[in-house]
Amino acid sequence: MEAFFSTYGFLLVSMVFAALLGLSLYLPLMSGQLSLASPGFYALGGYIAAGLSTKVFTNAGPLFPVPLVLLEMLVAGLVSAVVAVVVGVPALRLRGIYLALATIAFIEIIRVLALNLEITGGAVGIFGVPQPFKTQIEYMWIAAPLLVLTMLFLYRLERIRVGRAFIAIREDELASGAMGIDPTYNKVLSFTMGAVLAGVVGAVSAHFLNTWNARQGTFDASIVYLAFVLIGGSRTFLGPVVGGMALTALPELLRAASGNGSLPDWVAQFMKDGRLIIFGFLIVVGTVFLPQGVVTPRMFRRRKASPPAARTEPAETVETVEAAQKENPA
């Protein structure tokens, strides 16, 4: 058993973190916001934890105390929340493509800042982040409860008033406004929750990965999380969990399988190096064949529903009304 955990500990914890990062994208998506900003908050959270633990909490013993890790996570969450509100309030008045572009701009700005500021260690980053545990699998003590709590939270959220408001906005932002739901407030709320989650995961990941640099908050990462949600399922919180875990485990499993000789070497090598090729391919295929992802709400509902018809989302009209509103700020 111990051998299993020492070999696969890193992978298992990574799977849980991947699920959480998928969920950090799922939250803004619940209110219809395609935000690619999660990696920015993930990076931010990681820098906060790495910075605090290497520069502020420096006289801890051989093992970095877990309560301090939790404190860092809290700080990361709070800072992410503040940044999310500051960035989100103006940005989330945009819709669709414009919002996605604004979030891309955001993470690129964060990346350039991270590469240049002294406090983030520049291109080299921060290394030697202290460890609270002796083995990697022990990170599960933090990761697993975090995932379970988040999933419970989302389960409840989908069934209460606030969650319904998010879903209404996703379905039809214009109509939900006409039904009394404040779109900006709710979009910022869901965006902020996603940001907090990403920031918290970043904080503990800095310890988990031992070093932290600007490569953590890249555009690539956005695409990877997007794949988790797109393939796993974008309409239920279980989707990103399944997607995150499966897409993180798959390359490793295939590489392990090749070690037994059951797969040709080049396949396994491809699975390892070509991970992003596979992700890209899955995204392209997923948008065409599985627009709702693998795990769909229909699996859980026992009610009549016909096959998904072609989407006729009135995105342009919504943009237009919003554009008209921008002419005449009301």
Binding site: E108, I109, N116, R311, T312, T320, K326
Partner: protein
């Protein structure tokens, strides 16, 4: 800043800005015809540079599946540039057929197509990396023939040297932009293209083969992308397969700044961003890249339709 420095930076800015403009036009052409943002353009840009390098007989480095191999042909720079860009155009057409057409057929949201194009971009970029590795590639020093390394714009007493490559790139870009503007505004092809962009259904009712024009647009956008990629790659180096992605991201800033779907807007946006980057003070040169994104963010907040874009009025 002295006048010499100012002039140099001005020309730098115009030069890189004009390449941004050419690249952004690829986005703009597709957006104006189909209303989608095609991020795979960034990968096509990268491919153009690599194709040209390969067609000149360049050798693959130590990493990647094709390590140490090279094509048995050695075209001149100009020939390789043209052929490489044509190949890039072909790739763009293939992408349209395989990835975007099925989505169009089912009336998918443009956001979904953007996501798909992100997937294509990552796929191609990493495929390149898998094949030829991530190290930088340089074009041979004599790519531009017998030009001196720098051209002097000033007087012999007050020399203002500017890298020849920059000047060539600027000149080429101007020619391309002029040719494109002429083609779009004064030829039959151009008129048909604009008709399809305005209203595809009506255009097809008028006997215009919209499918052909969509393919043509993608080919043209790929050609421009490949061309821009080669120009940039030859001016510095091909910094690795991801150099297209960062260009692609900046290209988004260009088109939003200029106005989505607006052709002169792409030119204006490109030049503005090129100049903004050139005039970032030297102490902050690490932040150059952020200039484009800061501008993007700001323009999205205060005027999402961009500098030249118009709001489209439709019914609720």
């Amino acid at each position: 800043m002295s006048f010499t420095e100012f002039f140099q930076q001005l020309l730098n800015g115009l030069s890189i800005g004009s390449v941004y403009a050419i690249f952004a036009l690829g986005y703009t052409l597709v957006f104006s015809i189909l209303g989608i943002i095609n991020f795979s353009h960034a990968a096509v840009f990268t491919l153009g540079a690599y194709f040209t390098y390969a067609l000149m007989g360049g050798v693959v480095g130590f990493n990647g599946l094709l390590a140490n191999k090279s094509l048995p042909i050695h075209l001149s720079f100009v020939a390789a540039l043209l052929l490489g860009s044509v190949l890039a155009g072909v790739v763009a057409v293939v992408i349209e057929r395989l990835a975007f057409r099925p989505l169009r057929a089912r009336g998918a949201d443009p956001l979904l197509t953007l996501v798909s194009s992100l997937g294509v971009a990552i796929l191609i970029t990493n495929l390149i990396q898998y094949m030829v590795g991530a190290e930088p590639y340089s074009f041979p020093a004599n790519a531009y023939g017998t030009l001196p390394p720098a051209i002097n714009f000033g007087t012999p007493d007050n020399p203002i040297p500017v890298r020849s490559v920059q000047v060539v790139i600027f000149a080429v870009s101007v020619v391309i932009l002029a040719a494109l503007t002429f083609a779009i505004n004064y030829t039959r092809f151009g008129k048909a293209l604009r008709a399809v962009a305005e209203d595809a259904v009506t255009a097809s009712l008028l006997g215009i083969n919209t499918d052909f024009y969509i393919l043509l647009t993608f080919f043209l956008s790929g050609f421009l992308g490949g061309l821009a990629g080669t120009l940039v790659g030859s001016s510095v180096t091909i910094a690795g397969p991801y150099f297209g992605i960062s260009f692609g991201l900046k290209g988004l800033a260009v088109i939003v700044l200029g106005g989505l779907g607006d052709i002169p807007g792409a030119v204006v946006g490109g030049l503005v961003i090129g100049l903004a980057e050139a005039f970032v003070p030297a102490e902050y040169s690490g932040y150059k890249d952020a200039a484009a994104f800061a501008l993007l963010f700001i323009i999205l907040l205060i005027r999402p339709r961009g500098l030249l874009g118009r709001t489209v009025i439709q019914k609720v």
